[in-house]
């Protein structure tokens, strides 16, 4: 799972470039997220538009990535694909994460 981060004013926009966050890649995802987010206090938005599939290990890794941000700092998710959205909804994790329909205007195309 390749993750790319870009600083956008108050935001750190992270783009998930791989198509799966699953048991084979969960640990790598978690470690890479920690690397990208630990040097900044900015709000973090994870662009999930390329992620077609996420399993329970992947969901656990996303939860772990939010916890690693520290107390009071939420991980915001944007542009969930159908299957990923289903996993968040069924597990009710959609009530825990801030989920944007798409990457907020103004962050999308810069850079």
């Amino acid at each position: 799972m390749h993750l790319y981060s870009e600083s956008r004013g108050d935001f750190l926009l992270i783009r998930a470039a791989g198509d799966r966050i699953d048991a084979a890649g969960a640990i790598q995802f978690k470690d890479r997220m920690r690397e990208l987010t630990q040097t900044s206090d900015a709000r973090v938005i994870l662009d999930m538009s390329k992620v077609a599939f996420l399993d329970s290990s992947g969901l656990g890794a996303v939860v772990a990535a939010m916890k690693a941000l520290g107390p009071g700092r939420k991980l915001e998710l944007a542009d969930l694909t159908g299957t990923v959205e289903k996993v968040f909804r069924l597990t009710r994790m959609d009530s825990v994460f801030t989920i944007h329909k798409s990457v907020p205007e103004g962050l999308r195309n810069a850079g």
Partner: protein, 161 residues
């Protein structure tokens, strides 16, 4: 054409000592019980009929459930050394009937986990696991488990329409 994971239409030739009940199913794949093989096996299965022709919604449900079932085999049936897993799929509208066979350790007490979600307490206590069997139980019909002659046999149906 077999790839490096031995994914073929029937029981893999690399495992001749095991006779899986492969011919009973419309579509079968065998795969090794490790995370990378599960990923590759799922990707392959999603490109084959009957999965290739179903709606995105039905495909998503199938992939979520099967991924969780296979992850469970890798983690709990084959914790030390990966063994073979066979997946059989039959399209019997309005459902897909799915069988997952392995030769690993049996389910504790011969029972499937209850799969109850832990409370979603925000902060440090927010659960990072325990979603797998919840998802399986939520999305399947006719879920059954049987230990039979050294095999774990998990069977379930998911909506295909």
């Amino acid at each position: 054409m077999p790839d490096e994971l031995g994914l073929v239409g029937q029981a893999a030739p690399a495992l001749p000592e095991i006779s899986f009940p492969a011919n009973q199913h419309q579509t079968c794949v065998t795969l090794a019980g490790n995370n990378d093989a599960v990923r590759a096996g799922l990707k392959r299965l999603m490109m084959l009929e009957p999965l290739a022709g179903l709606s995105d919604d039905a495909r998503g449900t199938f992939e979520i459930v099967l991924a969780e079932a296979l992850n469970n085999v890798v983690e709990h049936a084959y914790p030390n050394a990966p063994g073979p897993i066979l997946v059989g799929v039959d399209h019997l509208p309005p459902v897909l009937r799915v069988s997952v066979y392995d030769l690993g350790l049996p389910m504790p007490d011969g029972q499937l986990p209850k799969g109850e979600l832990k409370p979603l307490v925000e902060g440090e206590e927010l659960p990072e696991g325990g979603f797998g069997w919840f998802l399986i139980r939520t999305l399947t019909l006719d879920l059954e488990y049987e230990r039979d002659g050294g095999f774990n046999k998990l069977r379930f149906a998911v909506q295909a329409e």
